[in-house]
Amino acid sequence: MSPADLSAESSSPADAAASAPLLRVRGLQKSFGTNRVLESVDLTVGRGRVLALIGPSGSGKTTILRCLNGLELPDGGTIEVAAAADTAGRSASGAMTIDFTRKASPKQLGALRDRSAMVFQHYNLFPHKTVLQNVIEGPVVVQRRPVAEVTAEALALLERVGLTAKRDSYPFELSGGQQQRVGIVRALALRPQLLLFDEPTSALDPELVGDVLRLIKELADEGWSMVIVTHELEFAREVAHEIAFVDGGTIVEHGDPKQLLRHPQHERTRQFLHRLLNPF
């Protein structure tokens, strides 16, 4: 299932709007108490584009991702959200600019959250629900789509990731890699415009990382728009259209993955890459 099938954006009447970026972030700021985590972040997520955020721990890259989904409320800056087509279960909504220097309205935050779906580092599956129930919870309970339709779609997605046999298992019965694939299916079932991955393989045993990365790459190849926070440089180079290096709460540099990884422009990027590539 490709995003074109799911969200029918290409058939949207507003072809001009269809070429506008999904998200445009300007001057995003965020502090936790006196700790300034995001200084001023600018980034753009285009349709069908994959943006990888790399950088040292504590640099703010996860916070950026969480702001994009409204899990963190920025203190300043704006996020421009493209119009969303009317798809089954969720109503169309026009383009809007959310200004976080003022208090964002619940409606704006709802619209922001509706656009994207997140895959968490620690999966965060609902332990009291089976695999299938985890996947259909959002579409059925929140989006109020018909159970039969959502179930069929969920089963197709589970088949795709090789977990049909686990549909009635509880999360604790699955390996980490299987749980993360369910996490990805849960995100896809929400029919988002944008997929957000927060270090999706960091909690996995090394031998399980490959399956999950392969799945994400497949989704990228199908044209899903993504923002991925990752430590897997090889993977980022392979999958991303653009890499942004985050340090000290800002995007220090961004650009073409091969270019940035091979010829970093900034000293901080060079040091980071050097440490990552030469751990001993």
Binding site: N124, G138, V142, Q143
Partner: protein
């Protein structure tokens, strides 16, 4: 050695059982149900970001836990009439026990809610849930599992505490025992018999707790 009066034991068994079935058990069940609802509200108030709501809940819990249940019963049944509020024995007992359970169970429920990992809230928000829906569909079912053992304690304590209602004239197990004892002068026999019935009720409750825990544990790794 004193020979127990078995005839009296059996003839008094029915009035005592009647007191349990019509007094102790419904009193405990009603008060626990109301108290639990109250406790959920109080727990959510304590977890609220609004300080005044949390403050009210905190003061309530402090007063309920810091004063004897018997005093609470007496204030409601013997005290309130002097300011013009007269409540019958049974409703007085229900009010007092509900208020009491509310205070104790609120802390249990609050701790159980806090024991659910933050990531569960975030996943619920991520799929588009509101706070109240996240609470009812994602958080509380998980908190329920954690709170069964301590809430069972609260319930078992309540069953035994209902004997205090005999002091505000509620007809229940212990009051029946007192009346038969006063009449027959067989204090030891009657009070041991009452104790035995309380114990059996609590044994049944403990078994029920076991079943409930097992059922709620089906999605947890052993």
């Amino acid at each position: 050695m004193i020979q127990p009066d078995w005839d009296l034991f059996f003839s008094s068994f029915w009035p005592l059982l009647d007191g349990a079935l019509r007094g102790t058990i419904p009193l405990a069940l009603t008060s626990f149900a109301i108290g639990l609802a109250l406790a959920l509200v109080l727990a959510l108030m304590r977890l609220s970001a609004k300080r005044w709501l949390a403050g009210i809940a905190r003061v309530y819990i402090s007063i309920v836990r810091g004063t004897p249940l018997l005093v609470q019963l007496f204030v409601i049944f013997y005290g309130l009439p002097s300011i013009g509020v007269t409540i019958d024995p049974w409703p007085s007992a229900v009010v007092a026990f509900s208020i009491n359970v509310g205070g104790y169970a609120a802390e249990v429920i609050r701790a159980a809610i806090l024991s659910v990992p933050k990531g569960q809230w975030e996943a619920a928000y991520m799929i588009g849930m509101s706070r109240s829906r996240a609470l009812t569909r994602i958080i509380l079912p998980q908190a329920a599992r954690v709170s069964v053992p301590p809430l069972s304690n609260t319930f078992i304590s309540l069953v035994k505490d209902t004997s205090l209602a005999s002091l505000i004239l509620v007809t229940e197990l212990f009051r029946e025992a007192q009346q038969v004892a006063a009449f027959s002068q067989e204090f030891m026999l009657l009070y041991l018999e009452a104790a035995l019935i309380y114990w059996v009720i609590c044994l049944v409750l403990s078994t029920g707790q076991g079943f409930l825990e097992k059922r709620l544990d089906r999605y947890v790794a052993r």
